[in-house]
Amino acid sequence: MGESRNQLLLAGAALLLAIIIIGAAFFILGDRGEEGATATETGAREGAEAGETPAEEVETLVIGAPLSLSGKYAKEGEMSLMGALAVVNWINDQGGIKVGGKTYKLEFIFYDDESNPDRVVSLVEKLIAEDNVNFLLAPYSSGLTAKAAPIAEKYGAIMLSHGGASDKIFTQGYEFIVQILTPASRYFVSVLDMVKAIDPEAKTVAIVYKESEFARTVAEGAKSYAESLGFEVVYFKSYPADAQDLTPVLQPLKDINPDVLIGGGHFADGQLLARQLYELGIKPKLIGLLVAPAIPDFYDNLGEAAEGIVYPSQWEPKVKYSPDNVPEGYEWYGPTVEEFIQYFKEVARERGKGDIMPSYHAADAGAAILFLAKAIEKAGSLDPEKVREAMNDLALYTFYGKLKIDPETGLQVGHDMVVGQWQNGKKVIVWPREASEADPLYPLPGYSG
């Protein structure tokens, strides 16, 4: 007994020692290796493809990202990764981007931040200082972004927020953080606009949301927007982050019987909310939920309970943004919607994900790469300050729709959200009218009035 214990101990100690040695080796060798590969001081590196195109000197521009590939944002992280890779591949297939006479192909480097702010900082520093990345996709969520921001700013790198819909982070005076998606406070704008337009009779709104930073920002934004449209918010309640049973908070709605119910939070609670609304027989004229209904398996998981539920979406595969309908003052750039989906599917297949469609998280990340690439071209330089300046004047129209930022804060002001709805087991875009595939199903089937 004692002897085998000692042997186990020895084995354990040896294992740990080996790990420390390997770690130390990586720690030291990691540096040297990267330094050897650095080609120019601008941060571009000689790519592997350099030899294949001898006619023109092609260099590599590295874009980096801490992505949440494990932990609570793992799903979003995986989609973002594939969306970013899809756009990077598209740009490279177009021959890369041209900056001041040189052509650059893009390379995308990423590490898993485990959805943990304490991991993010060292990864961002590694990306900037060792992998010589000057342009970053920001991590998911405001907590992670806030932690990464001082380091990014210290090294003067640009971060594009593709997953953080937070408003607050952009009021903190960061210079180099730029938002791609519509901020949380404006999530339900399109949904409420739609109700206002198709049913002037609708008066009462109930809001039920998950008590979290994102969902609460959405809920409060929706509340004030609804009131500005003349709705009466009759119910405003939240539930804790990992609630399992929402019955207490939902049952009163049966008596209140609001015209419109909006809210939700993320995947888990959104599904639960939809299911329990259905089970408890709460049927307002419209149910609009955050995030969860945008996921393809929402209907698989819920069946009939999903029917008729609408959701605000940053993007849908069936949006009709195309080079043919570029709005006034905007310029088209990037793949078409079909091309994006095709590139995305290819990446997904390579990563063993099978035949799946991109979610809006993928589109967010892809759009961020496009916005960045165009800004670099516009700036004609890899200097982050110049690129950041170029972004101020950029008005881009892409497969993702409009992109334009507030020069002061970096907050996204151009992008509009669409409204999707589950109809007969399929997601269809029902708003805005010019982008819609079908009329909204309104009021909800089963609405008793």
Binding site: D242, Q244, P248, P252, K254, L272
Partner: protein, 294 residues
């Protein structure tokens, strides 16, 4: 306050309470016999929920039958983790078992994630409903609570009506006494731990049938926490205590919501959590052996 609202509070408080009870007894069986607090408890519940999800979702096995599969899977997982880990830690300091069971939990979560991904999933097993006092009585939830009750009765019968159960209770009361009457205490440890895991995994299936959504690799964590509260309420180690405390806890959660929701400017359902833990502290201080122990 509407009559329907109060009726809903009692009805659904009781139903979820039964589920809480089933989802806690496993913790109690293991603590009672081995004096080990299973910090990985929730992960085993998660495994049960996935069992139902996968068997019903992709193979169409009727959900009540998936509980049987969960019990089997629980037996396998229980035996593996017992002989690989727990067996070596039975006499180790409490700290070691707390950390070890936590590590087992992580391993389960990450394995399930590696196989099924981190998506939140659900399924639809709709049995319809009846409407009483403007409250929908959802049959699938009733069915889940009944199945949970059946599990509890089976466990009760096992512990209070069989020889194995008698031996388990004997070990709980006096380990050395159990040795001298010829009980193989090591074997009782293995069986009790496995039994605890079996009922825990099975409770995951029951939970899945009740909620039918929100199934993801990390879903169990909240049940570890609530399980602790309920286990302590009922007296760590007590089977009936866990059940009664589960029902009381479900009612308490729902009732405190009803009261808190009368107050303006706060978020009642979120606060019920705080109150639940406040309750835990109070019980620990006043009667750490649980509410129903002499």
């Amino acid at each position: 306050m509407e009559v329907g609202q109060i009726f809903a509070t009692i009805l659904y408080g009781t139903l979820i309470g039964v589920i809480y009870g089933v989802a806690t007894v496993g913790l109690n069986v293991i603590f009672g016999v081995l004096r080990i607090v299973n910090v990985g408890h929730g992960a085993f519940i998660m495994v049960g929920a996935y069992t139902t999800l996968v068997l019903y979702g992709s193979l169409g096995v009727p959900p009540p039958i998936t509980i049987a599969a969960s019990i089997l899977l629980g037996a396998v997982l229980g035996l593996i983790t017992y002989y690989l880990v727990i067996k070596h830690l039975v006499d180790a300091p409490e700290l070691a078992t707390l950390i070890a069971t936590f590590a087992i939990g992580i391993l389960l979560q990450e394995t399930v994630k590696a196989i099924y991904g981190s998506d939140t999933r659900g399924f639809s097993w709709n049995l319809g409903f009846a409407e009483v006092l403007n409250v929908n009585i959802v049959y699938s939830r009733l069915a889940a609570a009944l199945l949970g009750l059946l599990l509890l009765i089976a466990l009760y019968a096992l512990i209070y009506r069989t020889k194995l159960g008698l031996a388990m209770r004997a070990v709980v009361q006096d380990k050395e006494g159990a040795m001298v009457v010829g009980i193989n205490v090591d074997r009782i440890y293995a069986l009790s731990y496995t039994l605890g895991i079996m009922i825990t995994v099975a409770s995951g299936s029951v939970l899945a049938i009740y909620l039918q959504s929100g199934i993801h690799p990390y879903m169990g964590e909240i049940y570890t926490l609530k399980g602790f509260v309920i286990a302590v309420m009922g007296g760590l180690g007590s089977i009936i205590g866990a059940f009664v405390a589960g029902v009381l806890f479900g009612l308490f959660e729902n009732a405190s919501y009803l009261i808190l929701s009368q107050i303006e400017g706060i978020q009642p359902l979120v606060l019920t959590r705080s109150i639940a833990f406040l309750l835990l502290l109070t019980i620990l201080l006043l009667k750490p052996t649980g509410l129903f122990r002499r």
